[in-house]
Symmetry: C2
Subunit: 509 residues, 2 copies
Amino acid sequence: MYILGLDVGTTGCKSIIFSPDGRIVSSAYGEYKLYHRRIEWSELNPYETWNTAKETIRRSIENVRIRPEEIAALSTSVLGEAFIPVDEKGNPLYWSMTTFDARAVEQTRWWEEKFGADEIYRITGQPLTSSMPIYPLPKIQWLREYEPKVYEKTWKFLCWEEYVNMKLCGKPVTDFSVASRTMMFDITRKKWSGEILDVAGIDEDLLPEAAPSGVVIGHVSPKASEETGLSEETLIVTGGHDQPCGALGAGLVESGPAMDATGTVECIGVVLDRPVLNERLRRGGFAVHHYVIEDIYFLFGFNPTSGVILRWFRDNFAEGERMKADEKGVNVYEILMSLAAESPPGARGLFFLPYFEGSGTPTFNRKARGVILGLTLSHKKSDVLRAILEGLSYELRRNIEAIERNGTKISEVRAIGGGAQSDFWLQIKADITGRLIVAPKVTEAASLGAAILAGVGSRVYESIKEAVRRIYAERAKFIPQTSNVEKYGGCYGLYKRIYDALAGIFDEI
Amino acid sequence: MYILGLDVGTTGCKSIIFSPDGRIVSSAYGEYKLYHRRIEWSELNPYETWNTAKETIRRSIENVRIRPEEIAALSTSVLGEAFIPVDEKGNPLYWSMTTFDARAVEQTRWWEEKFGADEIYRITGQPLTSSMPIYPLPKIQWLREYEPKVYEKTWKFLCWEEYVNMKLCGKPVTDFSVASRTMMFDITRKKWSGEILDVAGIDEDLLPEAAPSGVVIGHVSPKASEETGLSEETLIVTGGHDQPCGALGAGLVESGPAMDATGTVECIGVVLDRPVLNERLRRGGFAVHHYVIEDIYFLFGFNPTSGVILRWFRDNFAEGERMKADEKGVNVYEILMSLAAESPPGARGLFFLPYFEGSGTPTFNRKARGVILGLTLSHKKSDVLRAILEGLSYELRRNIEAIERNGTKISEVRAIGGGAQSDFWLQIKADITGRLIVAPKVTEAASLGAAILAGVGSRVYESIKEAVRRIYAERAKFIPQTSNVEKYGGCYGLYKRIYDALAGIFDEI
């Protein structure tokens, strides 16, 4: 038997079929567009996204010589926060606003003033700040105010997990991790928060049923079978939010290792056996919510602009390297990494603050901006590149330290996502954090995590722990080099003081 | 009749023959090497430099159909500070240490402690700081300590003006402006400072005769005539330090206009009818010395890394533009300026601090470093380029304001040097400083200034003022655009606060 992990992201989706020992049997990828109809809006077209998803599932099945019935189950890992208002027939009524859609500023401020960010954090584990209106709660209020007809016609507000589940088996069931990210879910009571919904004036019927991850919802419907090529025998199982799914794919089942998922954004997460909520974490922007294992929690910080800065550099300052990559038929990032390696640790005194869209946790300052500091005539492109990698890695260290300050000891860091493909960068991360960095074999950890949940729901595995034992394997380990750790230790102190020195300037820009 | 201005610089020399109305009749350029035998040393080879100079003079004469006798006189404009110990036959005994040769740190500190930087400034007008051992005084002491045999054999320590004069007419006569830059010249008494020489233990006989600029020293010697192609009828006239020569070429004869000379380094200078010396100017790094007109003084500030930053950017981040320039056969800087022009005033929130080798006047901080601040994903290469030009222009504004704070009103700014070739940059300078920026017709102002002195000495002109009236002409004017001036006004305040916020960080790097 096989298991399928579908990962619906911000700009594309992946359908990956795994064997029970974690080997990728088949994989397909489809892209869709992220729309910006207004400058501060950021939306998906639900029709386009679902059409891409179903075609991607179909290609992953057709790519390989297995019979659809051999796929025991499917679970979905999704981008958080994005939601779709649907009518009773399940038809989308509006665009799907994504995480960085910033329109609901006033509604978010309303919650700060009316209810208090500390109180909403106590219930939901989510840090609210009016400068970042991330969550569905204020966005649903925006819809009610500015698109009242849409609101009136809405049967349910669905995030992408339950929307996909509805499309595949008719039942729009979400899981606790995705529900946590709506800012309407009581993480202690494991149900929608009556208190918040009352204040918001939102009827609980407008929200889907929420269940733990890894439980069976139903079978693939005849219609969905026709649309996707899946067998009607395949089970649909609750999946989860892509960050905890990624953590599960990296083998996290209990406290100890941390996940470092480096893509456009970089997320640093740990699992906890109880929700740890305090004022310092809230102000630092750390969210606490349900993990994809029941009664286990997930604490995570983030750097909103990680890999995307390398892409920015590639697009703006690496014309020569792009041409060289085309000529040689190699990946341009490999060339950029080799160039960075020409600069010694510390980038010969250059510092780079990667706050290209504000800083993430733990400084959590929307007004922060990117900085290159320490330039002299002797610096070259290689130094700037190395400084970028080091700056991103200092942010990782800040997050590790902020998480540990709250009593969670981190034993090692498991690196996943596109950024985990560069051994050079992983060694920098080891040297800067002073931690063992482990690269798992599978970097597509979110799909793997979803597939594990599918396998648990469909009894391919007896338990999540058994699944992880069978599936999780290391590709490489990166051990901190003592001399570099010492050098970076001094630089890190200075790195933090640079931010402190500039905080007032960022307020002014 | 014609006049010849020879300009001996750090990496090359120019010999330009002018007609009395300021038209360039012939021009030749020769390069020599700046040697760095040790990392902090920076030297010229006196043989190589003189050989290049005499060949360059020869080419400038042979290039054009004039008879050598038609050249009435020659004056030399020189890089300041660089000097050569010579024996009684005028043969060089050692390399010529240039301005940025940093070996004499201890000797400079000795003066700070033994004599006081304020006292030495009162006598010489030169701001002494041990972090920048610019001047011949401490470097001669270094020679006595580390190369005692060279010191013992030395007949005279000659700067390049008097060395060239000796080579051309046998008499090593310097002028007051070049003498001012040795840190041994009493600018009020117009003679070598007995007080400083006593403390230093340097015999005044080791120094050359100093005269005002524009006075005849002698005729070209038969040997020099053979070496250079000059006529023995041509007069050799005292010239000056390249910055005041440039100012004279830009028509500065009295208070009012300022000179802004933008090459590798950028110098901002004004002429004064008396030496203005105060603690604020000294701490800000402003030097005051003799102008190339007797009893007139020259106050000047500088930015040590101006045009050189554009070269740094070109070499490191403009591969595509360099290729495009080669293809089209145009200057790469033109392409870079067009690119910068794609970004709006304010560079969309980017700030650039150009302290790539420490800051010049008026912050005068050797520890300062270059900074790019305000980066977001939406910034492009064009924004970075514009931010560089704006940062350099904010430094110009700082210097203008620092000079005006001392009671010298600046009526307009005359832009010379390579940087004055970009109208786009000159308009930015106008908008940022709020001043009228004037580009004179001749950008090779240092050679023109020297030629004016030659013409005054040889009576081609009745006076310097008459010479300037005949020679000086404007190529273009750049008037501040009100809307941009307002926008930049706010940015400028923030620009200064960024430096203030980072001053402590620069101490740590």
